[in-house]
Amino acid sequence: MKYAIQINASPFASAACDTAYRFVEAVLAAGHEVPRIFFYQEGIHNAWRKASHPDAGHDAVLRWSALAERHGIDLVVCVSAALRRGMTAGPAGELQGAATNDLADGFRLSGLGQSVEAMLECDRFMQFGRVS
């Protein structure tokens, strides 16, 4: 079965990301697929390249990068949600006059169409973190 995942919460303000990570791990271990994870709203804070975690056992950003690399997961950060919160990368950043790359490895900026596509093509949709 294919799962589309959307994460709306910041790892620094909610346990929802931890739950999401463990859910994705369990889904993959059970032989299902997670083609894409969409980071929306406060969920974009999962992607900060320079987030620093004194607690080595809990790196909220790097573990997504590592999981994505191991399983070929497309980590998509919503571009408008990111720009609204000052996160930039690539052409979107250059348009804003910032030639920086704020995204950790494995993450990319793209639009809401990516989430719609994943939700249409997958058998199940799970969101983590309250939206509204």
Partner: protein, 130 residues
């Protein structure tokens, strides 16, 4: 890429339910959930909009945006008909519990009763925002 997604979306069609259950004007959450709803609707997908709990305040009459503050959210709801999104569904009990009735809302809605919500959810393929 957008047109590619749009073509795929026309082939694949699902029934979407968007649920607003938290009060408006608490950060950008309402705006971003509406953005997602509008993207889905723009892909020609059938969308249902449900307001319950404090989400009913999104359509409270008498909202006045202040200069430099957030935009008046109910105007965005009013514009959804342009994307063929049907009248919002509003849970009657949520209104009643907040001392409100349909007359306190600033646009036409369809009232639904709490016992019917689970059946409403089961009629949709995707639920976003609950």
């Amino acid at each position: 890429m957008r047109s590619f997604h749009a073509i795929r979306a026309r082939i694949l069609k699902k029934k979407w339910l968007f649920v607003f259950s938290a009060a408006p004007y608490s950060g950008s959450a309402s705006q971003e959930l509406l953005d997602q709803l509008m993207t889905v609707a723009a892909f020609d997908q059938p969308v249902t909009l449900l307001l319950l709990d404090d989400g009913v305040y999104h359509l409270r009459q008498g909202q006045q945006a202040v200069q430099g503050g957030p935009r008046e959210i109910s105007r965005l709801f009013a514009a959804l008909s342009m994307l063929d999104v049907p009248e919002p569904l509003v849970e009657q009990e949520s209104l009643h519990e907040r001392g409100m009735s349909i007359h306190d809302l600033n646009q036409a809605v369809q009232l639904v009763q709490r016992p019917t919500i689970s059946e409403l959810v089961s009629r949709h393929d995707l639920v976003v925002g609950l």
